[in-house]
Amino acid sequence: MTTPTVAANAYATLARLHDPTAAMKGATETPGAGGGFGDMLKNAIGALNQAAKASDTQTQAMAAGKANIVDVVTAVAETEVAIDALVSVRDRVIQSYEEIMRMPI
C-alpha cells in the first residue's frame, strides 16, 4: 500500500540526488524537513530544471564545437536520472491518489 510517506521519502531522495554535483547549487534546501508536500515538489522540479539547463548548455556548447563529449554525456545522464526519478514519483503519487479516490465511503 502506497502511503504519502513513501512519496515524501522519494522526493527527499530525489532532491538529495543533486547535492554532490556542482550544477545543483540551487537545491540547498532539504525538502521533507518540515515543509509541505508542495514545497518539496517545487524543490524537486527546480532541481530537475537546473539539471536540464546544465545539459542544455553542454549540448549547445558541443554543437558549437566547444564542449567535450564526455561532459555532455555526463550532464545528459544526470538529467535523465533526475527526470526518471521525478516521473516515477509522479506516477506513484497519482496512483496513490486514484486509490484513495476509489475508496468506498
Binding site: 554532490p20 561532459d71 514519483v89 506516477d91
Partner: protein, 136 residues
C-alpha cells in the same frame, strides 16, 4: 549521490585517457618526421603523465592529465645517404618513437577508457534499477 559521483569520477578518467590518446597520436603521426633544419633535433617522443587531483565539489580524488614530458632517449639513426636530411656520414636522425611501443600504449589507453565506460554503465544501471523499484 554516490552513483552520480562515481560517474563524474569515471568521466575524469575518460578525459585523461582521451588526452593520452592525443599524445599517442602525436607520437605515431610524427614517427617519421625528420629535423626541420640542419643541426636541429627531430621530433622527440612525448610521454603523458597522470596525476591525482582532489575535486572539492565531488569530495573525491579524480585523475587528470599532468604535464606531458619528452622522452630523453637516443634518436633512431638510419643510414640513408641520399636523404636531404642526412649528415656527413649519410645518417638520418629519426624521432625516438617506436611504433610498437605506441601501439601497446594505444591499446592500454583504449582498455582504460573502456574500463571507465564500464563504471559509468554499471552506475547508471544501478540508478535505473533503483528507480524501477518505484515503478513496479
Amino acid at each position: 549521490m554516490d552513483f552520480l559521483k562515481s560517474i563524474a569520477i569515471a568521466a575524469s578518467g575518460l578525459r585523461a585517457q582521451a588526452g593520452r590518446m592525443r599524445v599517442i597520436s602525436e607520437n605515431i603521426a610524427n614517427a617519421d618526421s625528420t629535423a626541420p633544419r640542419e643541426g636541429a633535433d627531430p621530433y622527440r617522443r612525448k610521454i603523458p603523465t597522470f596525476r591525482t587531483e582532489v575535486d572539492r565539489a565531488l569530495d573525491a580524488q579524480v585523475v587528470s592529465l599532468g604535464r606531458v614530458r619528452t622522452d630523453q632517449s637516443e634518436f633512431r639513426l638510419k643510414h640513408e645517404p641520399g636523404h636531404p636530411a642526412a649528415d656527413a656520414n649519410g645518417n638520418v636522425r629519426y624521432p625516438n618513437v617506436n611504433s610498437l611501443v605506441e601501439m601497446t600504449d594505444l591499446k592500454e589507453a583504449q582498455r582504460s577508457y573502456e574500463a571507465n565506460i564500464n563504471v559509468i554503465t554499471a552506475s547508471r544501471r544501478m540508478i535505473q534499477r533503483t528507480i524501477e523499484i518505484l515503478k513496479s
